[in-house]
Each structure stands twice: as structure tokens, then as C-alpha cells.
Symmetry: C2
Subunit: 272 residues, 2 copies
Amino acid sequence: MTPDPRRDEREFLANYDPRDYDPVAVTVDVVALTIRDGGLSVLLVRRGNAPYAGMWALPGGFVRGVRDAEDLPDAAVRELAEETGVSAKGGVLGRVHLEQLGTYGDPGRDPRMRVISVAYLAFAPELPDPEAGSDAVDAAWVPVDALGLTEAAEQRPGTTRRLAFDHARILSDGLERARAKLEYTPLATAFCAGEFTVPELRAVYEAVWGEELHAGNFHRKVLSVPGFVESTGGTSDKGGRRGGPRPKLYRAGDARLLHPALLRPSREEEIR
Amino acid sequence: MTPDPRRDEREFLANYDPRDYDPVAVTVDVVALTIRDGGLSVLLVRRGNAPYAGMWALPGGFVRGVRDAEDLPDAAVRELAEETGVSAKGGVLGRVHLEQLGTYGDPGRDPRMRVISVAYLAFAPELPDPEAGSDAVDAAWVPVDALGLTEAAEQRPGTTRRLAFDHARILSDGLERARAKLEYTPLATAFCAGEFTVPELRAVYEAVWGEELHAGNFHRKVLSVPGFVESTGGTSDKGGRRGGPRPKLYRAGDARLLHPALLRPSREEEIR
DNA sequence: TTATGTTCTTCTCATAGCGAGATTTACTCA
DNA sequence: TGAGTAAATCTCGCTATGAGAAGAACATAA
């Protein structure tokens, strides 16, 4: 057996300039989701230059590596803030959830060079339009239904001509992660304001899952899971609804996991 | 508002040598888990040089970026194969499950330079000792119980002096992912050989979850979940057990998700 | 060979959770 | 004032679960 040179690679870098090594760029892309007009929307930016000029893409950019080195979540927050003007932590609406989604490093995903992208997933309550107040940024919340993300288009990059690079795949993975997260975590409250009603929470589930839920059973489940929501004692003022009594107000509880979980009704197809 | 220069970064790279940009190195680290002697074990290598000389570390190495560019899963498979001599896909034991765990890019996680590591998680049936037959590789399967991974030590890098870099944190995340995956996927069968018994499968769950399960209820659940296991019709020959009848043999079914799921008994602490 | 202990496998039973639907109540709108 | 809508609560049958028990098959030691 010949000695394995891989073990010495780290020591290599202590003596050699890393610029001499393989040049790999690291970027951060953000799948930022929110509920607008009862539908699930994603924050997209329009590309102005080749490649994929004129197409939508996820907001993202390069990680500051050495000069002003930043952690990966900080890079995601910075990209999100630069695009929307709302900081995720401690901003006007500081209830933004951010988690790592996955890393995409297929050679050829960027036609110009080797780019490895760390994708993040963000859940936000309704935020202002990014273009309003900043005419220099060509960004918008786009309903995911309008993107035509069929399963076939998501799996084969290039089949859909709506999103640049492999961002259709990243968005698809983000949507599936979001759908799964709502099942066993209370993160649906991250899409709501500080105080919300059970029907509003149900609207979040219906928008993300894309199917209607049984109102009675949903109400029973939400209130029976310990720590999911806690009552504020108040009642919603009559909003622009179409009738019915005023629903009660709740805020997010202290649970980190839902037990028992809220399972999607139509998971039968995904099992096999 | 001033125009945002970030949007032009990709076009920047089309014209400028990427070596002039921030030098960030990309590595893959693998958390390879298996069951040995009834306990959960992880594949570790011992470092020979500074920093962290003499300490255990996860197997890993640099991603081939431009010359012989490889995808991230391929890099993980290559690292695993170089360390164990068993290829994950189509090897002697080709039933290795591999999935991406997460990406760790904290500045300062490597004291020499900026290194971003994409971690992968692997489930393997019992594999031969990596040191047997290859005296040049200082690697071994180490029981995770012997590493003293307390919750406090996992969260604060440097508290535990057993694993190099932030590998204690990565391993901790991998263990939690493995424990969760066994709840709602049939991946416990990836720890077993082609044919296995229900008690063997239960031993996998008990080793990963670290708690004993009710044998009768486990047996009922496994057989009632559609597609989890399918009978081979055979019966185990009398192994080195301590009595009892010969258990029946099964193989992995075609389910991709367990419905209903197999939930851990003691999740009560983690809920809040 | 016999006795004892172990473990696989299949039960029972009480309780909890769930899907589907009905009912009551409170509100909006014409 | 009447019709329509939706929140909130309830019933009912079915399924899933946890705990325990029991029988059968096997190993080991006396």
C-alpha cells in the first residue's frame, strides 16, 4: 500500500499560498418565503447580464472569505437585508426564521467557473415589496404557483426556463423542506405577525402545503399540542372577512417541536 | 439609494481571475456510522500533524475543484473509499446510504485559513476494520459512547478535547440527524445486511437511539408499516444468541417513508 | 435428560389520536 | 330582516399506541 497523500493536504496549506490551490468560489443563495395574498411567494431578483440574462434568480452573492470574513448565516442575513431592506435579526419585523437548506456544488452549475453555493431557507411574515422605495433593485416577491415548478422541471435543470442556474432545484428543495418543517415544528408562526388567529395559522398551512384543511380538526390539533400557541385573551377586530364570529388571538408558544405532529393529509403518493 | 455592487459580482468573475478573489477552500467531511458490537460507531482518523496533532478527526479532504472537477457527493464517496477501501456505490457492500448533512463555515474553524466544509452522513452495514490490511492508514471505528459527547461539549467547540476542529459539533449534528431519520424513514435497514431479522433491526434502533424498546410493540409496528420490510420466507440459522426461537428473515421493502412513523419514546425533553 | 432461563412472536386491553361530519354561535352583507 | 359565512365546539367510528401477558422455541447448565 502506498501512503495516502490526502492526509497531508491540511499541512500543505500551512506552507503554501492557498491561491495556488484549486480556485473554488463560495456563494450564498437564499430561498426567502412569505405568504402574500393567501399564496406562498418567494423573493427573486432579475438578472441583468449573461448568463441567464433577464431571468429570475434567487438572491445571493459571494461569501466574504478573508477580508471582513463572515459566517455563513451572517452572509445569508446580509444578502437578505441588501435585497429587502429588512434585517432578519432585530429589524422592524425581527421574527424571521433562517436555517441552512443545503449546498449545491455540481460542476457546471455555473458555466463560467466552479461555484459552490450554500443555500439558506428563510420564513418571513409579510414584508414590504422590495422594489418600493428602492428603484435600483430589481427584485420582487413572486408567487411560487406562477413559476410552473412541476416535478419533472425541478429535477432536470434546463427543463424550466424560468429560473437561472440550478435555482429551480434549490427552490424546489426549499419548498419541500418548508412543507416538512410545518409538520413537526411550530415554524408556521414565523409566517404570522406577533398576534394571529387560528384561521390565519391554518391559511399558512394551506398556502405552504397547497391543500385545504379541515377547519375543525385543525383547530382542535393546534390547541391540543402543548406549547404550539398560547392565548392572548384578546379577540381579533373585525377584519375584511366575509362573515363569521371574531376569532380569538394567539401568539407563538415555547415549543420547539410539535408533539404530536401535524401531518399532511396527502402524503400517500410520497411514501413509496 | 446607491446601486448595489453585489449584483455585478458574477459578471466580475467572468472578467477577472478568480484567484484574485477571496481565497476560500472547500472540503468534505464524512460522518460514517455503523453498528459494531451492538454499539453505534463512527469512522475516525488520527491526525499526525499540527494543528490538533494526535487527535481524532472525521475523514475528509479537499474537493477537486477545477482539475478533475467532482461533484460533492462524489468527493464524499471518494474520501470514504480512500479511508475504508469499500466503495459506497456498487462495492462489495453496496448498501451504503449517503446524504448531505450540512455545511460548516465559521471563520476560525481552521486556524490556518478560511475553510468551508460540506459534511456528509453515511449509514453502513458492518464494514471491515480500516486498519486491517492497510497499515499506512491510521483510522478506526470508534464507539460514539467512548467520545464523551455531552450536550455541553458538543455545543462549545474546545470544551471537548477529543475531536479536532469543530468535528465534535459536526458529529453531534450527524447523530441527531441519524436519530431523527430512523423515525420516519426505513434507513435503519441500511445498517443491516441484505437479510436481517426484526430483533436485529430493533438492535439498530436501540443502538442509535440509545434506549431499549418494547420488543412486542416494535415487532408489531415494523410489520404493520407498509413497505418497511418484506419477508424472505426463510428463518435465521441459530446464531450466537442466548436462547429463544429462530427469528424469521426479512429484507428492506420499497417504502421511502414510514407511515405511520416510529417515534422515539423519550422525546419529551426535546420538545420545549 | 431435565430444569431453568432467554427471546421471538403473538396476543389482550385500555387509552389516545385522528378523519369526517354535524351543530351552535356570531358576524357580514344585501 | 334574512341569507350566507365562518369560528369554535362537539360526536362518532376507526386506527394507533403503550403496557403487559402468554405461548412457543431455543440455549445452557445441572
